[in-house]
């Protein structure tokens, strides 16, 4: 187990390094200069030259790369060109917001997806199953940001049940320090989380239904039924436990999706997270923030896969034996 973990960790670090390098190269061979495009006003050439010198952008790309990697290993992500503050600070502010959104969406995704999948499998090929199956397929086929827009229009604009965007009420709740303010935060969180969660749940339900139906045809389920166990117990205890394995794969796949899907959803709901930070940085040619955001995103992908693999071992002893 330990040797396996070490090997996987080494591979993960290599992958992250490759992504960082790729990002670095892409950013540095692009056209254009980092000063004076975001608001259209021209910047004096000498100012621009001074800025470029100050951030070391006139050095050969190889030296910049080595310096960047060195700084990265010391935990230094550089300084943002547009925000005039360390990149690490900006990320530290945005990352918790994205994680809160992603985790809430993940819980919604799996809770709803599991329930729907089990319900559909129990009513296989009857009206409830077919109707829900088609509905799930439709929701799963929507562009996430568009579903966000529709929910925004219906629930926030027309019915006025939810706020149209933002993290919290900045006037009444500058900080999260009281119960009403927490409630206000949850109220702002609902729509973006629901958007991400619904699209995810539709996919999860499809997987879960298929997995459960595969297990239900096996002999031990027939045995359980023959023993005279109530159907509820057969499905929820005997069958479901064996049908949870695909869900772990799905978890590994969903994790990065929540972050990338969040790029657009955060834009729609003006949610100050990683995605919005990255999009703004890309539009402003803020190189250090862009590379750092790509780094975090690839770490999340690798972490998701690693976590899924580790969970496999916990859930299924057969896999654990083979891995060592």
């Amino acid at each position: 187990m330990a040797a396996w973990l070490v090997r996987r960790l080494a591979a993960s670090i290599a992958i992250v390094w490759a992504v960082v390098t790729l990002t670095f190269v892409v950013v540095h061979i692009a056209h254009g200069s980092p000063c004076g495009q975001s608001d259209g006003r021209p910047v004096a050439p000498e100012t621009c030259a001074a800025l470029i010198r100050r951030f070391g952008l006139d050095r050969p790309i190889g030296i910049q790369y080595v310096k960047y990697l060195g700084a990265l290993l010391h935990g230094d992500l550089g300084e943002s060109l547009a925000l005039h503050r360390p990149v690490a600070d900006a990320l530290a502010e945005a990352l918790p917001n994205t994680l809160t959104l992603a985790l809430t969406a993940l819980i919604l995704d799996f809770a709803l997806g599991l329930a729907l999948g089990v319900y559909q499998a129990a009513r296989e090929r009857r009206f409830g199953d077919i109707a829900l199956g088609n509905a799930a397929l439709f929701v799963n086929s929507m562009p996430t940001f568009w579903l966000g827009l529709v929910l925004l229009l219906l629930l926030a604009q027309w019915l006025r049940l939810f706020p149209v965007g933002g993290l919290r009420d900045l006037v009444l709740c500058p900080r999260l320090d009281s119960l009403p303010c927490l409630a206000d935060f949850a109220w702002h969180l609902t729509l973006p989380a629901l958007t991400l969660g619904l699209v995810g749940a539709a996919g999860t339900a499809r997987y879960q239904r298929a997995a459960l139906l595969e297990v239900v045809r096996q002999d031990f389920v027939r045995t359980a039924r023959a023993k005279g166990l109530p159907e509820r117990r057969v499905l929820l205890v005997h069958a479901l436990r064996n049908a949870l394995l695909p869900l772990i794969t799905l978890f590994g796949l969903t994790f990065p999706f929540l972050l990338t899907g969040a790029v657009l959803v955060e834009t729609v709901f003006a949610w100050p997270g990683m995605g919005r930070l990255a999009v703004t940085a890309i539009l402003q040619r803020d190189y250090p923030v862009v590379t750092a955001a790509a780094l975090i995103a690839s770490v999340m992908v690798v972490l998701g896969n690693l976590l899924a693999d580790a969970l496999y071992g916990v859930a299924d002893p057969r896999i654990r034996v083979r891995a060592t």
Binding site: V26, S141, A294, S298, N305
Partner: protein
Amino acid sequence: MTVWNWLAVGGAAVLALVAVAEIRRRAGTGTSARRFFRHPTAAPALFVLAFFVTVALAAPLVTPYRPYVQIDIARLANHAPSAQFPLGTDPFGRDVWSRLVYGARISLGIGALAMLVAVTTGVVVGGVAGYFRRWVDATLMRLVDVGLAMPRVFMLLMVVALWEHVPLTVLVLLIGLTGWFGTSRLVRAEVLSVREREFVAAARALGAEPARVIFRHVLPNAAAPIIVSAALGIGNVMLLEAGLSFLGLGVPSPAPSWGNMIADGWPKMAVAWWASTFPGLAISLVVMALNAVGDALRDALDPRKETA
């Protein structure tokens, strides 16, 4: 819309129905065809796809306006759906139905072409890796690992934003070349199992070149999962294009794509919900149809992985 436009739309629907019936007749009564059409959603999904393709091809016939025309910006911006404008007009006074139809050309075209690029690359890489194994396989698969861990949306956004004016062909290539990693893994696994079969050994014993063995003998026997992943992949590409265009970084305005139509209508969503809603519905409908066809194809071609 004129009477002629309505008639043309009706004609397109009839043509799509005929096409589906024809596909059904040609497919015959074999096991695969029966399995495919046993899916209750398979035939309707084919109809949806055929309809959108027909309408897109016949765009000048079914639309009353050119997609760029701002009909009367002062009085006809944000006009609600009516007999003249069946899906309303957008904030720039353009007919949403006309843009939707011309946008189908761009959105469906990008989806199909980018998927073609992705599947071709994936098949070649997966085939080569699976057939030659050893260091070729190891090198290519490490590359795939990196590709799969790459935050694709970020990368695309970055490239497109940093290069400013990205032509459509480059956009298609970019989306295609960042989307083949999953396919190549799938193909490699399939090739690894097929290459051990007797007919491959026979082909090699007859002195066939590796390229001939891979493309004539191995890959045709691994076609099922490739076709299925291609059908499911077009939908993904369309969603990706919509996302990029929504951020203003995909298909540049005023050319209509379903993604940038949503973006154009978004600021006025509260007063003119139709401009953003209909393109989104069109995307959802087409992607759903592609997913349904993909599911049905999987059951038809690859009964081992049956889902229904």
